[in-house]
């Protein structure tokens, strides 16, 4: 018996999100609780990493905010994610896009992937 798997089957609700890959541009709508108030904040950027498996799988989104690179890690199973929208599909040749951290401006762009067959 896989005890950890069993616990997550019982306690972690499975979330359904549109499929995306590293290089894609996504908007993550994230619930933020301030005191007793609750609001939804959008975080839009490029997915530079998908890591882990099962209930502890996460993805990292990078964006440039006011000229400063900002990265945020979201767990796929977080109940605070309201929704994920895939805004652009990117064409990249690796699964971890950490090289983007060293690039600025036009160099840091990701080429768009033209979808011939919808996946």
């Amino acid at each position: 018996m896989d005890a950890i798997k069993f616990v997550h089957e019982q306690l972690t609700a499975e979330r359904k999100f549109p499929a995306f890959r590293p290089g894609d541009n996504v908007t993550v709508n994230y619930k933020i609780i301030e005191g007793d108030k609750e609001r939804v904040q959008a975080f839009r950027g490029d997915v530079i990493q998908i890591k882990g498996q099962g209930a502890t799988k996460t993805f990292t989104v990078r964006k440039i905010s006011n000229g400063v690179g900002v990265e945020r890690i979201f767990p796929f199973s977080s109940p605070n994610i309201v929704g994920i929208e895939v805004t652009k599909r990117g064409k990249v040749r690796r699964s971890k896009l950490f090289y983007l951290r060293g690039l600025v401006g036009k160099k840091a762009r990701i080429k768009e992937r033209k979808l011939i067959k919808d996946n």
């Binding site: 005890a3 950890i4 616990v7 609780i33 209930a55």
Partner: protein, 198 residues
């Protein structure tokens, strides 16, 4: 270890422990042994790997050979010899428990990792390759020796450690699993002892 989300949407690190079924292999009383305790056996062992004295001991309790046998004092659960003890008999959600286990072996380690020395956190001021050196181990002609117990490099880990005041987040009675908040000493699949605080 893994993590779950609590009601407030917070991610809580936790450990899944398979804590049963245990079998009462001996009941010690004031009259026969001078103190009262209950001995529990856990996990199946092969008969060919169990010694003759232990085989007889398990036979007396009417059970199969067990891998681990541990004695618990002041264990007032009212189970007789050979009876099964399950998770729900002992633990409920919200209990405070202690976990006793043997930590992962770390091998030969320096003083920074082994004793938490801060090391020399600087590349300048005349320091070259001694960023993690222990520094002075005592004075010179007096006392002319290194005091016993001086903390130095050596074997680290592989020691018995008690982690106190862990909280039980969830109990699964049918699977004999409990979910404990925080970390527990030892590697994956290690045998540990859980003590309930009264």
């Amino acid at each position: 270890m893994t993590s779950i989300y609590d009601g407030a949407g917070k991610n809580v690190a936790c450990t899944v422990v398979e804590a049963g079924p245990c079998v009462v292999t001996q009941v010690k009383t004031e009259d026969t042994d001078g103190y009262s305790a209950v001995q529990l056996g856990f996990g199946e062992a092969k008969e060919k790997n169990t010694t003759q004295p232990l085989l007889g001991h398990f036979q007396k309790a009417g059970t199969t050979p067990k891998r681990k046998v541990v004695e618990f004092r002041n264990f007032s659960i009212g189970k007789a010899l050979g009876e099964e003890v399950n998770v729900a008999d002992v633990f409920t959600e919200g209990d405070t428990i202690n976990a006793i286990g043997v930590t992962k072996g770390k091998g030969f380690q320096g003083v920074v990792k082994r004793h938490g020395f801060s090391g020399v956190n600087d590349q300048t001021h005349g320091q070259h390759n001694r960023g993690r050196a222990p520094g002075s181990i005592g004075a010179s002609s007096f006392p002319s020796k290194v005091f016993k117990g001086m903390r130095m490099a050596g074997r680290d880990g592989g020691q018995q450690v008690t982690v106190k005041n862990l909280r039980v987040l969830k109990v699964f009675p049918e699977q004999n699993l409990i979910l404990v908040k925080g970390a527990i000493p030892g590697h994956k699949g290690a045998t540990i002892i859980l003590e309930k605080k009264i």
